[in-house]
Symmetry: C2
Subunit: 134 residues, 2 copies
């Protein structure tokens, strides 16, 4: 019983469901194949839903993978502050929920005195499972 999903349109709902059920990030065309039985036929329908879902913070794009993942973090309001860990071996992706980190980055001021409204951080390494197996 998630709240505030009644405002999503039909296609947005379908695409979000697929992404939320997935274990990891999904690519746009893989989403497309998965939702064809539900009436979505064209890439653009998927991309439009993705765009909206990103806008309202329900999902994030993993830029280094061109893939999309459900937001598990109520803190990153409207995707202004996102951080992920990505396993180089099994490609497992996890959203990092760390208050210190997000505070540090949200308040970061560069050498020229600039502050930023938004950031996206991607960490790469081996996840615990893959570290053990090696």
């Amino acid at each position: 019983m998630t709240q505030k999903q009644e405002q999503l349109s039909k296609n947005q709902q379908i695409v979000l469901n697929i992404i939320e059920k997935a274990k990891g990030p999904l690519k746009a065309y893989s989403i497309l194949y998965n939702v064809q039985k539900r009436g979505i036929k064209a890439p653009l329908q998927v991309y439009r839903a993705l765009e909206k879902l990103i806008e309202i913070g329900k999902i994030h794009k993993i830029e280094s993978k061109n893939a999309f993942i459900a937001c598990k973090n109520s803190d990153c309001e409207i995707s202004k502050a996102t951080a992920f860990s990505i396993c180089n071996n099994c490609e497992h992706v996890k959203e990092i929920k760390n208050t210190k980190l997000s505070k540090y980055l949200s308040n970061f001021v560069d050498n020229s005195g600039m502050k930023y409204k938004k950031y996206n951080l991607e960490f790469f390494g081996l996840c615990k499972d893959c570290k053990l197996k090696q």
Copy 2:
């Protein structure tokens, strides 16, 4: 007189020159158009050079833009730790050189105790010029 460039191959050299001369990040196909007079004819030739240049840390990929920029930061050895600021208005991109930030992120340990080998951070906001103009 940059050092250590004698080891680059012809195509790698050509592509690097274009990227280093550019004011901002370049897209692969824009690089291609720019180097056709110098004998590079196919996308793959560009992508291969890009791959190598990234590998040896001469350039970075701006993931959110699918574009490539020369490394201006001798500190980010072999691109293990990259941070950029990106202007939402004029699309100006700048590599952030900030020792505190890079130390903070390189030493970051997440809630599960994981440390990471590599990260890429992209900040978004308005650059100084665009802030003034608004």
